[in-house]
């Protein structure tokens, strides 16, 4: 009996009988082949027209966000962002409404999100600063993630108003990554000034070594003066580089997110256009992962720059 049961168990994979798995695999494969031959891809190769059910319209991605309501200055990325915002607020409001000492349901979910983020942030920035940086870093992460994942709802981009998609991944609107980059930049600079005071500006405009060199020169110490001046010029150059890197950070932040999300979105659209059945599921998975990674990178880099700004000040004071 036990052997028979073992044999029966052996024939099951992922909770399904082997035969069911084989049938599913065959069906999926058949769908892939059908959508490949009957879709736009097959049509392009064979030089025929695609089967009507598989004839997906050619994607015409627009970089700027579009306005689905004529006369209203509301873009489709704004609508998607608002939906993401509402989802996040509702999720956290419901989860944190009547909190119990022993968590259950949505409270569990929001507490898990909070704890994972808090541990990550506090590990990097320490307990004191971790709590201060938490709100901005976590909100950036959640905002990017919500925008990326809302776009994965199947068919959401095919809902149109006045011939324009009603919803679009907000991360593919350059204004959103730019806004987030600006928030991140301003917050980092704010904390730099708060931790270091006015001395923070000497990181970018460091004329001290040059003046010291000049002073030595006027005192008649030619060799020390000249080397001091050379060091001063190098310090000024390093300061300019630091200043540039601060501003370049805005650009890198913006275009990293914008580029990745736009490329991911376009890739999914192209795949849906070429092979509309089954295959896009793989790309949806990749897109979900990409969205998470991008959100993580944005939040983590903000945290990293914040920590650097604060730790430098801490180290100097130490």
């Amino acid at each position: 009996m036990a052997d028979k049961r073992k044999e029966k168990k052996k024939k099951r994979y992922c909770g399904c009988a082997l035969s069911a798995m084989v049938i599913l695999a065959v069906v999926f494969l058949a769908l892939v082949v059908i959508s490949f031959i009957g879709g736009n891809m097959g049509a392009l190769i064979l030089g025929t027209e695609p089967v009507s059910i598989l004839a997906v319209h050619q994607p015409r991605p627009e970089l700027p966000a579009e306005m689905p309501f004529s006369g209203l200055p509301i873009t489709n990325t704004m609508i998607t962002a608002w939906i993401g915002i509402v989802v996040m607020i509702v999720l956290f409001a419901v989860g944190a409404r009547k909190m119990k000492l022993i968590p259950a349901g949505v409270q569990n979910l929001v507490e898990t999100i909070y704890e994972v983020a808090a541990n990550f942030i506090e590990d990097a920035a320490g307990k004191e600063y971790g709590r201060k940086f938490f709100a901005v870093c976590t909100t950036i992460f959640l905002f990017v993630l919500a925008n990326a994942w809302i776009n994965l709802i199947p068919g959401i981009e095919s809902i149109k108003m006045n011939g324009v998609p009603l919803f679009r991944n907000a991360n593919t609107d350059v204004n959103v990554p730019l806004m987030l980059a600006m928030v991140s930049f301003c917050y980092v600079e704010f904390w730099g000034f708060k931790a270091k005071g006015f001395k923070y500006i000497t990181k970018f405009f460091n004329f001290g070594p040059l003046f010291q060199g000049l002073r030595q020169l006027f005192k008649g110490r030619l060799k020390i003066g000249l080397s001091g001046m050379a060091m001063g010029l190098i310090a000024i150059f390093v300061g300019i580089l630091e200043l540039l890197s601060e501003f370049i950070r805005i650009i890198s932040f913006t275009f990293r997110l914008f580029g990745n999300m736009t490329a991911g979105s376009m890739l999914t659209l192209v795949i849906i256009f070429l092979i509309p059945w089954v295959v896009p599921v793989i790309f949806y998975g990749l897109e979900a992962f990409l969205g998470f990674i991008q959100a993580m990178i944005f939040g983590a880099l903000t945290l990293c720059f914040l920590t650097m700004a604060v730790k430098e000040a801490e180290e100097e004071s130490a």
Partner: protein, 166 residues
């Protein structure tokens, strides 16, 4: 810039949306959750401290109880030893008493027996004397008076007894 879609109103709108999200999350989510987590951590800390205190109290009480048990055991042992000693003593005393009583009974019995024997011998002697006097009187027709005759027999008896004893 325009080709990319950068425009100030959209930027500001998205910024406002983000700030609203952050404010709402701080107010509705982060603060209550932080408060709950802190409270829970505090409770856990208190619970741990209480558990530690209880454990220490348990160890202390256990030590006290063990000491008490050990002391009680020692006392019980002492009591048992004393009782055993006392029992032995009482037993010895009872034995001694019984032995004494038995001895006394034996002595009394022996004394009574001796008395009885002496009395019997005495009575026997008297009867013998009487009988001898009567017989002798009849034989010699009362040549001797009765008192002389008795004395003579008694003397003969005395001699025979002392002879037997020797």
């Amino acid at each position: 810039m325009a080709e990319l879609g950068i425009d100030l109103p959209t930027f500001v709108a998205q910024l406002v949306s983000f700030l609203i999200l952050m404010g709402a999350l701080i107010f509705l989510g982060y603060h209550p959750i932080r408060k709950m987590l802190d409270e829970r951590a505090e409770r856990i800390k208190e619970g741990m401290a209480q558990a530690e205190a209880s454990r220490e109290e348990y160890v202390r009480v256990r030590m006290v109880v063990e000491e008490e048990i050990s002391r009680a055991r020692e006392e019980a042992q002492a009591i048992i030893a004393e009782a055993a000693q006392m029992g032995g003593k009482l037993k010895d005393e009872a034995k001694q008493e019984a032995r004494k009583e038995a001895q006394a009974i034996i002595d009394r019995a022996r004394k009574e027996m001796d008395q009885e024997r002496a009395m019997s011998i005495d009575d026997l002697r008297k009867e013998f004397v009487e009988t001898a006097v009567i017989i002798a009187g009849k034989v010699i027709n009362e040549t001797l008076d009765r008192e002389k005759h008795r004395k003579l027999i008694e003397k003969a008896l005395e001699e025979s007894i002392s002879f037997k004893r020797n």
